[in-house]
């Protein structure tokens, strides 16, 4: 009991500001509504935007585009695959991380909180390099690892990228899930118990879905943030769309064009994500207060 309290106090000392407060400010979660698109000033703005796009097309060099279209599409595929796999894996880890912080015994609680604090307190780029160049260069020194069936994978770069992105997502989303689990009204859990649900059933049927439901808007933002993190893997030799564009930049020596295209690609991917999430959120409507 005393130990638990002490652990809680120690943990409180390192708790970072809640993640939910900034997700919407740092990730696009709502598309601007199309309504009222044709007000006079908007038409002028759109004309200006159109002019800019025209200038970009006319005065900048785009002749390289067809040659790299295939590579770009491949890169987008890799980016999306990374996003999907690491978000799903990360979420799977985030659930227990959030849960033990709400109900777990204190050693697990402290462990989960420490994990979240360390990951949230250091740059992802550094974590990525630590895993790939640091940990990755230690592995081959152990013959056991070198001979194991894992070695062909450990030789590659993507497992490290996936691991780093997964941990990152798990830490940020774990923090969100903690709030979501804690925020499910006690009464609803009590009602489930009153209807004779076992602990597992209560967790799977009521607590988890309800928490996920609560976390959905933030999950949307976290996924957009995760998409925005994926290009970092290019720095450890994974060929995602960012890496493809880097290569284009190096081969063509163009400064702006590939980057502008890249920004456009991410803009579209983000919009797609937002639309997908809007679809899911609409499935379970909640009355906005």
């Amino acid at each position: 009991m005393r130990a638990e309290e002490r652990a809680r106090e120690a943990a409180l000392l390192v708790e970072l500001p809640p993640e939910e407060t900034t997700v919407e400010a740092t990730a696009l979660t709502h598309l601007p509504s199309a309504r009222g698109f044709f007000k006079p000033h908007r038409i002028v703005l759109m004309a200006v935007a159109g002019g800019l796009v025209f200038c970009a097309i006319w005065f900048l060099r785009w002749d390289w585009l067809p040659q790299y279209a295939g590579a770009l599409a491949w890169g987008v595929g890799v980016s999306l695959l990374l996003l999907a796999s690491t978000s799903i894996l990360g979420f799977a880890i985030a659930v227990p991380i959030g849960l033990v912080q709400v109900t777990g015994p204190w050693p697990l609680k402290a462990l989960a909180q420490g994990f979240c604090t360390i990951i949230r307190g250091t740059p992802l780029l550094l974590q990525l390099w630590l895993l790939y160049y640091g940990l990755g260069s230690l592995f081959p020194q152990f013959p056991a690892i070198r001979q194991s069936f894992l070695w062909p994978y450990l030789r590659e770069a993507w497992p490290y990228g996936v691991a780093a992105l997964t941990f990152s997502f798990a830490a940020y989303e774990g923090e969100v899930m903690r709030g979501a689990f804690a925020g499910v009204p006690r009464g609803e859990l009590e009602a489930a118990r009153a209807f004779g649900m076992s602990r597992w059933k209560l967790f799977w049927r009521i607590w988890l879905p309800r928490a996920v439901h609560r976390a959905l808007p933030t999950l949307n933002g976290e996924t957009v943030l995760q998409l925005k993190s994926t290009p970092l893997v290019a720095t450890i030799t994974v060929i995602d769309v960012y890496a493809v564009v880097s290569k284009i930049r190096q081969v063509t020596y163009l400064t702006y064009e590939p980057l502008l295209l890249l920004a456009l690609i991410y803009l579209l991917l983000t919009a797609l994500l937002v639309l997908a999430f809007r679809y899911f959120e609409n499935k379970i409507p909640t009355r906005s207060v």
């Binding site: 009204p185 009464g187 609803e188 009590e190 009602a191 489930a192 118990r193 009153a194 209807f195 004779g196 649900m197 076992s198 059933k201 049927r205 009521i206 879905p209 309800r210 439901h213 379970i284 409507p285 909640t286 009355r287």
Partner: protein, 257 residues
Amino acid sequence: MTERAEAIAVRDLRKRFGALEVLRGISLTAHEGDVIAIIGGSGSGKSTFLRCINMLETPSSGSVAIRGEAIALKGDGHGGLAPSNRRQVQRLRARLGMVFQSFNLWQHMTIIQNVIEAPVHVLGVPRAEAMERGEALLRRVGLFEKRDVYPSFLSGGQQQRAAIARALAVQPHAMLFDEPTSALDPELVGEVLGVIGDLAKEKRTMILVTHEMKFARNVASHIVFLAQGVIEEQGPPEQIFGDPRSERLRKFISSVH
């Protein structure tokens, strides 16, 4: 009364929260078809008593039996009791329909999903059958058109009626109501009391905690007045309201009228 089977039997129930002894030896038997209303001042232990019946709160001592089956209890090592067989508790709970003051509908499910949840996932009723029965129940409480709506879109009265349908869906041996109308706006109270009144007329076993004295008088077959953790007085409604014996009950009745 004696020839009917015992639906709920509570013997010498005590419950303490730390230093505070909230229930100080309560015995009460509800036979099949009884409608028992529990009244009493705030903090007198009414909710705690109700919650002890289905072990949402574990008693410090005493025993509870549902339909003659005693809930197995063992010492919890802190001077209280705890169920020794979780499965038994879950099985018995599943047939006690509890209705809460704040409804506690599951917000991530539609009304019909709320209603069929326990029958399908706890009792193992086939989905189609549960659906059919659930819809009948919703029709009965006047919420059939709202079946596919999420709870947050309903008024408090509608939510409480849905909660009652949810409790009925498990075909409960007995229903437990904890102040089912006190979270409602005055104009919505009537519709919920109407539904409960109908249930009482069907001679369903019910124990209800309520502050609505007029309603308790009309509906209950037996009134229990709780004060400071003991049953201060009990009896048929006419006697309790018409001819209260104890000073405390007399004061209580005049204060709420």
